[in-house]
Amino acid sequence: MRGYAALIYVFLYAPILLIVVFSFNSGFSASDFKGVSFKWYAKAATNTFVIDAVVNSLIVAASSATLATVFGTMAALALQRVKGWVRTVFDGLIYVAIMVPGIVIGISTLIALVSVFGLLNTALVALIPALAGPEPPLALGFASLIAAHTLFNLALVIVIVRARIAGMDRSLIEASADLYATPWRTFRQVTLPQILPAVLAGFLLGFTFSLDDFVIAFFVAGSKTTLPIFVFSSIRRGVTPEINAIGTVVLAVSLILLFGSQLLLRRGHGRPRRA
């Protein structure tokens, strides 16, 4: 059993080890090790397109995760009280949003937006001639990408937060209302602290999903390059260890965040409780 577990870990980490090792390659190829060097890190750090791609990815991930968390939590709170057709419709939509493959979401969003933008652009230019120019007023880009990522994240947050609400102690809310707290105050002081772990988990999951998504971004990002799109086109251009360096940095940052948060949590738990 122990041996099997070890084997699985080797399987999981072999490619990652390879990525890290080759990031220090002084040669030009991601498959032929020539010697140890840090030059690809320097190269990645000064490559404007890498920096752009990283910044774009972070903006998109942060925006879509935030939007999804706020709207998703709102919807989850409302849905616990709604019955009837509204609830049925919402449940169905959430189910479909999670079920429909990313590739279908990407393609259908692309053709829908292209068609809608086509109509709207003609109308806009006709109404406001100042908008006429070589570039149409509406085009694929940040907004479409963030919107598409938010859709999936929204469904994710609603599912996670609802599960938490279902397990929540409702007597506290009733008590708070009995004490004449305003609904807002009840939410802030009673509900929110209880559902916060789920809200945060939803945010993190959404952030991670958005950061690593390729298939949706590939179709709806327009001219914007995110990190996965950059890596995909690098695979086509011919991979240099620069890609490995980027991968290693992403891994290192995630590990630091992970262990940092673990440490903080442990310290939080360790604090003596006041009675």
Binding site: V96, P101, L151, L258
Partner: protein
């Protein structure tokens, strides 16, 4: 006493509005457009031209192999993932020492935090001619080829989705009361029987959920067959991308997309009904 649980309908509407808007604009509208387009015709230069024809659906058998590959490899990939993940989840939940358990669990998620594409690229190298095959040849075990085979795609699938499979199983096994196992042993049952009669049924809901999660993702897979299958192992996802990015046949692509979604909804509902008997419907439900 004020009514705490029944806020005004207005508040409910306001809370639901942004989410509803999002679903409407980015799910209902795009899927609606795809359904409408699937009855259209390809414009002469590519793209969509309004029409009402069934040709695109009648033409679906032309993608039979892609559907077949997906419908065969997605369940196989799911089952292989399950077989690979279960012992590890069991080990983590039952056998691992509590001190190392958290660390080992974290180690399962960490690979998720390097770019999926970069990890898959690493596999392209490992499975390519200069990787494992050259080692095998050097060891005198003959000439083999991994890359661009269904094996490579399957391996990529297991690699990518193993952590997703491990977690839900781990969570349900963790709830397992070890006294139950002890009791079963006290009653003279063999460890194997204890496992079959106590552990396995208890972990079923987790396994059922995990399988569904992985299966859903596999049905729409595009990147793994693209990168590790080299255009030789085609999934529906690949056929779809091809129709939009090469043939520019939006109506036919839309028909393929609609069929994929319908097949998925059908398979998953059947699966849930069937699995509900094993694990209890509540645990299996996604929403």
């Amino acid at each position: 006493m004020r009514n705490a649980t029944g806020p005004s309908p207005l508040l409910t509407a306001v809370l639901l509005a942004p989410g509803a808007l999002w679903f409407l604009g980015l799910l209902v509208l795009p899927l609606g457009v795809v359904i409408v387009f699937s009855f259209g015709e390809r414009a002469a230069v590519g793209g969509y031209q309004a029409a009402f024809v069934l040709d695109n659906y009648l033409n679906l058998p032309a993608r039979w192999t892609a559907f077949k590959n997906t419908l065969v490899l997605a369940p196989i990939g799911t089952v292989v993932c399950l077989i690979a993940a279960y012992p590890l989840a069991y080990f983590l939940a039952v056998k691992a020492r509590p001190e190392t358990r958290t660390a080992l669990l974290i180690l399962v998620i960490v690979p998720f935090w390097t770019s999926f594409l970069i990890r898959t690229y690493a596999w392209m190298f490992i499975l390519g001619g200069r990787g494992l095959p050259s080692l095998i040849e050097w060891a005198g075990l003959g000439e083999v080829r991994f890359i661009n085979t269904p094996f490579a795609v399957l391996l990529g699938i297991v690699y990518a989705y193993l952590p997703l499979m491990i977690f839900p199983i781990y969570v349900s096994l963790e709830k397992l009361d070890k006294r139950l196992l002890e009791a079963s042993e006290d009653l003279g049952a063999s460890p194997w029987r204890g496992f079959m009669q106590v552990t396995l049924p208890l972990s079923a809901p987790g396994a059922v959920t995990a399988c569904m999660l992985v299966f859903i993702l596999l049905m729409g897979e595009y990147l793994i067959p693209q990168l590790l299958g080299g255009g030789k192992v085609f999934f529906i996802g690949n056929a779809l991308v091809d129709l939009f990015l090469q043939s520019r046949n939006w109506p036919f692509g839309s028909a393929v997309a609609v069929s994929l979604v319908v097949i998925m909804l059908a398979t998953v509902s059947v699966y849930m009904r069937f699995a509900g008997r094993i694990g209890g419907a509540r645990d299996v439900s996604l929403v």
